[in-house]
Symmetry: C2
């Protein structure tokens, strides 16, 4: 049966909520729901896997070392393995729904 | 720079249009735009890769051997490698935008 990515959005979001939609040989697909969440100051993701990420709803700002990328609904970007990045901002007034695909691992 | 999946929708769609959004170690991500397209009668996809697919916009009906699955915007489903399937229907009056992730291969 299909899983709908816009259904069952958490009503309360003290923390980001991650749901694994698919996991198997070759990688996994996650839905991440944020509400004003951002990475802690000084924290950088440094992942062993290539990540392809899209904003389905809401908006966000990713920070790379030396640059920022704004993502609106529909925007997607590839984050190569070990490219340091952090979430600098997500919409505080409505949930931001991310779709993240991790390859390998 | 981000790629927006709702931008640059083809104006004319005599055939489905597939855009590779990411390809690398572990798999690839494709956007597929349909407009009333369906698989030819008797045609079945039989893929060596696991596929995770989502309808971003529009609606579609997938056929499996012995069953149908309706997909509305936001719906996602995993199609395991070698599970035979075909596209039985897509919206004829507006484009259906698919996001398809293929793992392995």
């Amino acid at each position: 049966m299909p899983q709908n990515l816009f259904s069952d959005l958490p009503e309360s979001l003290p923390d980001e909520v991650t749901t694994v939609l698919h996991e198997g040989h070759g990688g996994r697909v996650e839905r991440i729901v944020s509400l004003g969440h951002r990475s802690p100051d000084g924290f950088w993701y440094d992942q062993p896997e290539d990540e392809w990420v899209m904003v389905l709803k809401g908006a966000a700002r990713l920070e790379f070392e030396g640059s920022f990328v704004e993502l609106r609904a529909g925007d997607s970007i590839t984050i190569p393995a070990h490219q340091k990045h952090r979430v600098a901002w997500t919409t505080p007034d409505e949930p931001t729904v991310w779709l993240a695909v991790f390859f390998g691992g």
